[in-house]
């Protein structure tokens, strides 16, 4: 009997710990740590920029992509340029 009670408590504690970890884990900006990557951040490189778009073609917010404020502004600028040149979609639908 004692064993069963212990198991129950531990499972609940583990769940609590897991929740805390997920809430506290911060996303890191991928540009601040890799200075070589900043050179690739360009409106011509549509493959990299498409990672910062949703399925529908909207720009991902920085709370999801994890970009710092400085590079989020740059990414948004470059995406808008490549949209003008028809490399990326304004609104992703089948045509």
């Amino acid at each position: 009997m004692t064993k069963k009670i212990k198991l129950k408590i531990s499972a609940r504690l583990l769940k609590k710990k897991f929740r805390k970890k997920t809430a506290l884990s911060k996303k890191q900006c991928r540009f601040t740590n890799n200075p070589d990557m900043i050179h690739d951040l360009n409106f011509k490189n549509a493959v990299l920029l498409s990672k910062f778009l949703t399925e529908r073609g909207k720009i991902l917010p920085s709370r999801i992509s994890g970009n710092s404020n400085k590079y989020q502004r740059l990414v948004a600028q470059e995406i808008k340029k490549s949209r003008i040149m028809a490399l990326l979609p304004f609104c992703a639908t089948e045509y």
């Binding site: 360009n42 490189n45 990299l48 040149m85 028809a86 490399l87 990326l88 979609p89 992703a92 045509y95």
Partner: protein, 194 residues
């Protein structure tokens, strides 16, 4: 000294002579304003993200050049005449961007339709759909030899010209074989347990 790059989009039916005509005009204008052409690259044919002038496809060109500070404004206006008025039917979109002089000239671009191989397998791998890929060759063990021979005989038939009824029959035959195999395996398992 100022360094510029211009990316412009043309219609997909552009020929070699037309692209060379654009380049010759480009060189002529830049020389007249005492500039130097660095590069004139043809990216290739692309599928566009949205239709431009009712075209789903287009060809991109990238040009780079240096200009002196005094002639900068006049040259850019002269180039705009080429893009907007002279080759109005060919060129649909263009964008002008200023570059740093010390920065390297290397750049990355998405793969064009001419570069990339148009196999089904590579397309599936690139778009993370490896579940749809055909499985590799079956291992040639003593147990699998008979099965592989049977499946080869079925696959070797030319189903393209056959009627749809025949196709159905072939698929049914495959499914029936698979089912029979699974049944046999289950029976074997039961035998072992018993």
């Amino acid at each position: 000294m100022f360094r510029y790059e211009i990316l412009f989009l043309t219609v997909p039916e552009i020929t070699k002579d037309e692209s060379e005509a654009i380049k010759s005009h480009f060189v002529k204008v830049i020389r007249a304003h005492k500039g130097t052409l660095i590069s004139f690259d043809r990216w290739g044919k692309y599928r566009l993200a949205y239709p431009v002038n009712k075209n789903d496809y287009g060809v991109y060109f990238l040009t780079r050049f240096d200009v002196e500070k005094e002639e900068k404004v006049q040259l850019l206006e002269a180039l705009k005449e080429i893009f907007v008025f002279k080759f109005n039917t060919l060129i649909t979109k263009h964008i002008v961007e200023r570059l740093d002089e010390n920065a390297s000239l290397e750049y990355r671009r998405p793969d064009s339709l001419e570069d990339s191989p148009q196999d089904v397998d590579t397309f599936l791998k690139r778009h993370d759909m490896e579940g749809l890929l055909k499985k590799g060759p079956i291992r040639k063990t003593f147990e699998n030899r008979e099965r592989s021979q049977d499946s080869d005989s079925l696959d070797g038939e030319d189903l393209g010209d056959a009627k749809p009824e025949v196709r159905k029959a072939a698929f049914v035959g495959k499914d029936a074989k698979k089912q029979s195999e699974t049944k046999n395996e289950e029976n074997l398992d039961y035998d072992e347990e018993n």
